[in-house]
Each structure stands twice: as C-alpha cells, then as structure tokens.
Symmetry: C2
C-alpha cells in the first residue's frame, strides 16, 4: 500500500514526485517513458533558468532531479484503469496486469498527439506519416515534406526539418499562422519553407510509402495536390485519459476538470495536474507548477486523514 | 506608451517578461532589484531542472534569461502608485517621480518579510535584528543567535547560521515545527541548533545592540530570557501592495484576488501574478508559472483590444 501513486513522467508528474519525496511520502510513479511531449520538443527557450535547452536535455535533467530522491519508479508500463476500493483507497492497474494500491493518486498523464482523421493517416503511419520530428526527422533526409499545423510546434518542426529536407511546406487551416511572432520571423528567413494558409488537408496518398497529399484551398474551394514523401502532423494534442472513467469530470475538450487552486478532482484523494487537466495555459513551466500544487494538496489530504505511512 | 508594464523582478515578473518578449510586446519591467525572496534563499532543491542551486544563482540565471530578449528594464526604482487614465490606459508612478504609461499592467511585486511587531524590533533593526540570513549571517560569526520561525525558511536560516554561530535557537510558536521533514532531519543532526516549540517572542532587548530576547513558554505561561546577540525573523511574509488601491480586490491576507486560471484582477487590463496574489501555493516554480499565465492573458487582452504597438 503506497501513500501516493503518480501517473505520468512528464513535467507535472516528475515535479509532483520531487515535492512529495521531500515530504517523505511513500510514493510510486508509473510512466510509459520519460520522454513525452517535452522530450519531443526542440529548443526550449521559455523554461526560466535555461536560456536554450533541448526538450530531451530538459527531460533528462528533470528525471535526474527526481532520482536524487527516494521514490519508487515503474517505467515502461501504462496504466489501464484506476478504481476505488471498498475501503476508500485506490487501485491502479497497468496494461501488463500489475496492480498497485494507494491512499491517494495524482493523474499527470499528459497528452497524446491529435490525429488528422483523414484517409491514409493510419495506413501510412510509420511509412511517411509521423507525429514526432525529433524522433523521425532524420529519416526524411533529402525528401520533400509537409508539416500540418501552423502553431508553435508546427513551425518548430519545419525549422528542424529544414536541416534535412530540401523543401518543407507548412499547411495551416486558418488565415494566419498561430505561432509566436519570434518563431514566425525565423521561418520567414528560410526560403525552402513555404507557408500555405487557408489550406485544409483532405487525404494522404501513396503506394508503399506516402507520395502526396490532397488539400483544399479554403479561399478558392479547389483541391490541390502536394507531392511529398513525409507528413508531419502537428495540430495539437488530446488528453491521455483513457484509463480514468467515472471518478472525474471532463470538460468539452475531454480534459479533467480540477479546482485551479488545489488540483482536486471531484473524488477526494484523486488529484490531476498538468496538460491532462482543464488549465488554460499548456506550457512546461505551468505543468511543473501544477505538479507541485497537486503534490502539496495530496500531502495535506493524507495529513488530514492522518492516514499515511509516516 | 508601452503595451505592458511589469512591476517586479522576481520569478513571476521575469517569467512574464520572457513570455511577452517572445510575443514582441513593447514592455517595461520595473523592479527595485533582482534579488527578492529567491535571492535571499539558500540552497533550492525543488526548482525542477536544478538539483541544487543557490537562490542568488537561480536569480542570476533568471535575469540573464530575461536579458536575452528585448524589453526595457528599469532597475532600482520602486512603484509608488498605479492609476487609470481617462482614456483607459494605466499610469505607473515611481518613488523617484518618474511616470510611465501603458495599455496593460502585470503586478508581480511579491512579498516583504512579515515583522514580529514586538518591542525592540524596529529599534534594533540592523543592530542585531535581521530579516535576511544570506545578507547578514556572516556578520554574526562567533555569536549566539535566535531564529524566530520554525517553517522551511526558519530551519534553513538556522542551518546556514550553523556555519558561523556557536549556538542557534529556533523559536516556534506552534507545538511542532512546520517545515519539510527532510529539513527537520538535517536540523536534528546539528547539535548546536536547539529547537524551542510553544515559544512566543515578546520583546527584543539590548543597549546599542541586541543582547537578549524575552519569550513566553506557552505551556507553562512563564516568561523566559535568551541571551542572544542576533535575532533572525523568519515568520513569513506579507504581500507588497502598498502602491495599488481601488483597482483590485484583496483577500483577508491582503493578497490580490485573481482569477486562478487567467491571473485577471477585477480591472480589465490589470493582471497579477505570483506571491502577491491569493494563489495557495507560494513556491518559486508556481510563481514562474503564474508569470507565464499573466503574460499570455495580457497578450490576449491586447490582441482583443487590437491596440498594441505591433
């Protein structure tokens, strides 16, 4: 029986781990990996204290920071279900069939990439379609590619791909790019990046591998074809909440509703933190803070119930 | 006329500055200094990414990070008043008599040390009474001292003072210390630190300099004297809001009430972030996050009013 189980090894989960370790709670952190959205990010320039740091480096530092303290870490498993036991505790099951019990739980499972949901996307996954430029970018050396999405992650993906690819198209459905001005300026300076706004992807085509996409020009309503061998999908993300039903409420975006001051969900003892929740600002620095808040709330909860292992 | 004025150079103000600089807002940051509560802290072990870092070093990194971007910085001035102009903008006056105008304002002025409010405290300030061990600790080499306050900052102050002082008393009014377990364990290992709980300071005495304090043992109700030459006050802090009246609401602790999701105050265009607000968790990592949130809210506000300098 643990005092606390933390689900997720991103900025929120790790920070929660650091905070509760300092409170000497008997804690288990379960995470598929310690990569997640941050590990897949390029240069991060807005995590205060590090002027410029690669996402993978920052995650490395976070993980090392956590490992300085004594909490149990279960890496490589995914949580498949959380439920309440009869005696008011929580049971957390993993996809490998393990079962863990705890008095409190923090859900910090983050988000998964949002799919395009167009024909060809599933078919060509791993054969031209990718959600992660850091992971797959180098495989597209010398190839013409398209990035779908004109926000920060899309533009940063295009900048990264410009190291490998002779031509990169950015497809954005809105009339304008939505990324930070500073990133837009960098993109403008690179000739081989072409921006297409008012452009909605309709289909991904190919034989064994992707060879083109079809998109609609929303101004003229005409369909056009781009000959590309790679499609990088960067249209945001969806909360990773498949394992949690009934114990929490969701907003329209399927994000877990929390008390913004305490990270409490509607179930006492069950907290949620970071990008899986309905917080407005999805940023690394905010997710870490939410992890700290959830940790301190869980600690208070356990103290009140006078029910932890100390 | 600036788009935005940020008041305060702590974690919240600096992070707000980093975020709006990336949005290319024409911004002025006004701060007395870049030291504040963090700069006065010792070893920080819970800012994710830095396993161990001195408060002063972290502030140095924050400031350097900010200076990478282009915003105006006015260091060495204190804000004396914020008011609204007839045309809906803000006027910010400083104690030196400067006046600045902006379309939006973020208050991130943090907190000042909470005074004991006992006889002798004001009289002996700088002559034995101090609020900052980092600043003044070395002056007490070889002297017996007392730290008032048994929370994290009090215990960390005592640990730091144990480098210089032959004997350190910690005075805590509650029946138990309130700091993290991990810090309590460290204190227990050092023999020359003595913890007095249920002990309430009543008076600071001396001639030219402090030579003793009087406290009440709350169990026996008897007054006792401690012969000490230094009194370090570590009983928390109060929000620094003397310059702002009317435009915001306060809670019972004199903290600025904000919408916890957006950092909005009751005045459109006026935001507040970090430890000056009614957020529950006062931690560096949370204050930085609040700065990011306020910055993005201010950016949205300026975009909506379609009224910024870009």
């Amino acid at each position: 029986m643990y005092d606390l189980i933390i689900i997720g090894g991103g900025p929120a989960g790790i920070t929660a781990g650091i905070y509760v370790a300092r409170k000497k709670l008997n804690t288990l952190l379960i995470s598929r990996d310690f990569i997640g959205q941050v590990g897949e990010a390029f240069l991060i320039e807005n995590y205060p204290g590090f002027e410029e740091i690669l996402g993978s480096e920052l995650m490395e530092k976070f993980k090392k920071h956590l490992e300085k303290f004594k909490i149990d870490i279960n890496e490589g498993e995914e949580v498949s279900k959380i439920s309440k036991t009869k005696d008011g505790n929580f049971e957390v099951k993993t996809s490998k069939g393990d079962r863990f019990l705890s008095k409190a739980v923090i859900i910090a499972s983050g988000r998964d990439p949002r799919p395009l949901e167009v024909p060809g996307e599933k078919e060509f996954l791993g054969r031209g379609v990718s959600y992660c430029v850091v992971c797959d970018g180098p495989l597209f050396e010398g190839k013409e590619v398209v990035v779908v999405g004109g926000g920060n992650s899309g533009l940063e993906a295009a900048l990264e791909l410009s190291k490998f690819c002779p031509k990169i198209h950015i497809l954005e459905v809105s009339p304008q790019l939505t990324s930070d001005e500073i990133t837009q300026e960098r993109v403008k300076k690179i000739e081989k990046i072409e921006v297409l706004t008012n452009a909605e992807i309709k289909e991904i085509k190919g034989k064994n591998f992707v060879n083109s996409i079809v998109y609609q020009d929303l101004k003229t309503k005409r369909e056009k074809t781009l000959k590309v061998e790679g499609v990088f999908v960067q249209i945001g993300s969806i909360p990773a909440t498949g394992f949690i039903k009934g114990l929490v409420d969701f907003n329209k975006k399927d994000e877990i509703k929390i008390d913004p001051k305490t990270c409490e969900t509607k179930t006492p003892g069950l907290f949620a933190a970071g990008d899986v929740t309905d917080i407005l600002v999805k940023q690394i620095i905010v997710a870490t803070a939410e992890g700290a808040k959830a940790a301190l709330s869980a600690y208070k909860y356990l103290q009140k119930s006078n029910n932890y292992s100390k």
